[in-house]
């Protein structure tokens, strides 16, 4: 009886979960009158399905989805690869080594960053140049400062992880907007960053890194250190240990993390909205444009939505399989 109730709860939630997806799917096969005349539910019974919306989608009448699709795929994959590569490396270092960062050095970085920027700009450098100069100056100064026995608290590995994570706490509009300003400044210097593959890839890499570091750190922490020590004793260089032993061992974790990252990049809207104009538009932007001048052509919108969802559905299946074998477990502390 109790199991029955539990099963019913699951069924209810299944319905809640699947109905909207089902609705989008059937709607994409409806002819316009079957949509506008009020809801219809079952193909062949309520209405005669048609492939028109799909034909339209593929023929590009409502905007060409192939290009955003390709863009999303390229940017998604490269950002994922970079984020997972950089993030895993950082997470690994954070698990296996200790880092000590003086708070004062961090503060110095921020102060020098702002001050340097203002100073250089007043000295007549262009905004992008003064930004770059301030960055280098601040970074160099704070690295040096970190060596000095400055007073004040010393931050350890957990703080560094938190620093990475705090990235996610910033409202994206703050960073996206700032990044937009930065990119356009750089653009004015002649290095195009807005609406470029690298611009998008770096942006997504940076904003996926916190999650990757967070997740991968847990996966690495779960790995037995002795295996690496065995290799160390065998005189295997760290880089090779990482690449040939750690990475293969953490592969399930890496795959799970990569999929979560890919999902994030694939679905991301705000950065894409702000930082792309034409060449590197991504799928969510394409989707948001499906509101039409002519009114909502729900069949077309549904087809477009299905196109955007499909790859993620495949991922859901894979992720669920990983989840079953308990691999996502590492994601918890």
């Amino acid at each position: 009886m109790k199991r029955g109730a539990v099963f019913l709860l699951c069924l209810a939630w299944l319905f809640v979960t699947l109905f909207p997806i089902y609705w989008a799917l059937v709607t994409s096969f409806k002819p316009p009158p079957a949509v506008n005349g009020g809801p219809t539910y079952l193909p062949w019974i309520d209405f005669q399905p048609t492939l028109q919306a799909w034909i339209d989608a593929f023929s590009g009448i409502r905007g060409d989805f192939v290009r955003p699709f390709v863009n999303s795929t390229l940017i998604g994959l490269s950002a994922t690869v970079l984020a997972v590569a950089f993030g895993s490396m950082a997470a690994y270092a954070l698990v296996r080594y200790t880092f000590r960062v003086r708070l004062l050095a961090g503060v110095l970085f921020a102060l020098l960053g702002i001050g340097g920027f203002l100073l250089f700009r007043d000295l007549g450098l262009s905004r992008a140049d003064s930004l770059g100069a301030a960055f280098v100056l601040a970074l160099a100064a704070s690295i040096l400062a970190n060596r000095l026995p400055l007073p004040g608290p010393v931050l350890g590995n957990n703080d560094v992880v938190f620093w990475f994570l705090s990235q996610r706490m910033f409202p994206p509009i703050v960073t996206a907007f700032a990044l937009y300003l930065l990119y356009s400044e750089i653009g004015r210097e002649g290095v195009k960053a807005l609406d470029t593959f690298w611009g998008m890839t770096f942006c997504y890499t940076a904003f996926s890194l916190p999650i990757v570091v967070w997740l991968m750190r847990d996966f690495f922490q779960a790995l037995p250190v002795e295996i690496e020590e065995a290799a160390l004793v065998d005189d295997v260089p760290r880089i090779r240990i990482f690449l040939e032993i750690v990475v293969p061992m953490a592969r399930p974790g890496i795959v799970a993390t990569a999929m979560i990252t890919l999902g994030f990049v694939w679905n991301e809207f705000l950065f894409a909205l702000l930082l792309t104009t034409s060449d590197w538009q991504t799928l969510p932007i394409f989707l948001s444009g499906q509101n039409s001048y002519r009114g909502d052509e729900w069949w077309a919108i549904s087809a477009a939505a299905m196109i955007a969802i499909a790859p993620m559905m495949v991922m859901a299946v894979l992720l669920a399989r990983l989840m079953r074998s308990g691999l996502v477990l590492g994601g918890i502390r």
Binding site: P224, E226, A230, A231, L232, V233, D234, D235, V236, M249
Partner: protein, 357 residues
Amino acid sequence: MARVSLKGVVKRYGAATVIPRLDLDIEDREFVVLVGPSGCGKTTTLRMIAGLEPVSEGTIRIGDRDVTDLRPGLRNCSMVFQSYALYPHMTVRDNIGYGMRVRGESRARIESKIAEAARILGLEPYLDRRPKHLSGGQRQRVAIGRAIVRNPDVFLFDEPLSNLDAKLRIEMRTEIKNLHRRLESTVVYVTHDQVEAMTLADRVVVMNSGVIEQIADPITLYEKPANMFVAAFIGAPSMNFLAVRLTGDAVELADGTRLPVPQERAAALAGFNGRSVMLGLRPEHMAGGEKGPAVVTLVPRTIEPLGPHTLVIGELAGTRITAQVDARFPCRPDEPTRITFDMNQMHVFDRETGKTL
């Protein structure tokens, strides 16, 4: 193959001093076993030798090199970990050969070394399996195989058998001993199982809280423990201790019972006459019934028949005592029983310092 020597080695973790000061010399080709209770610093010592843990003070030498600040890879030690630490994604062959490949040895040489190790360890049928398809004992042997292809100066073993079941443990013990004989290498072996220590070692180092309590060969350890700690640690069931007063030719228990001391022992202890000391006697040096001059009455609380003999646990003069008696010796809980002590085997310790007198 080489000598290993630790001089004035200190290890601190933050504020906690784990090893206050350690001096240890291990001869070339010697099989040294470190034993001690959990947390006494055995693993730490081993890892410092391997270079996996930096020393806080002191120097470590292997052969004629000072390796104190050398990174692990350059010390030419091989280590077998408690958890085996096999590379899970590699086959047995690759596990054994990986280090050589990294060092860039020739393929032919790698192959022949793997083949040789596999032959020695009886791993030929499993060369293409992954670790997870091996049994515990097989994994153990792979870990050893990985260590021997290196021709290391020193073998380091960290509780390699503790994950195995009793039967396999006994088998592997024999194999390791044989291996040592064949490879003629210096071995430092950590365990907290004293049977393992006794059966394997040329010399046993008994540690406690980071301090070496005694270094000696197994039989000396059993027969002439340097102090109460060693006496209690070596031998199972543990040695019994009774607070007694020495009165020339006998010892007097708290309840007034007097136990005669054999002549030669009494002579040796003459200097301590009248002193309160600790009397140590192993359960196996007791017997049921009245078979000698030193007889006490024990009220058994628990009777533990082990088959060949039976343990009688009871109280004597306010101290818990375990006696090992013959399996057929009749005794029942709560019925006072006569137990004979073999006072020839007695040990006497200083009450304050615990040192053997």
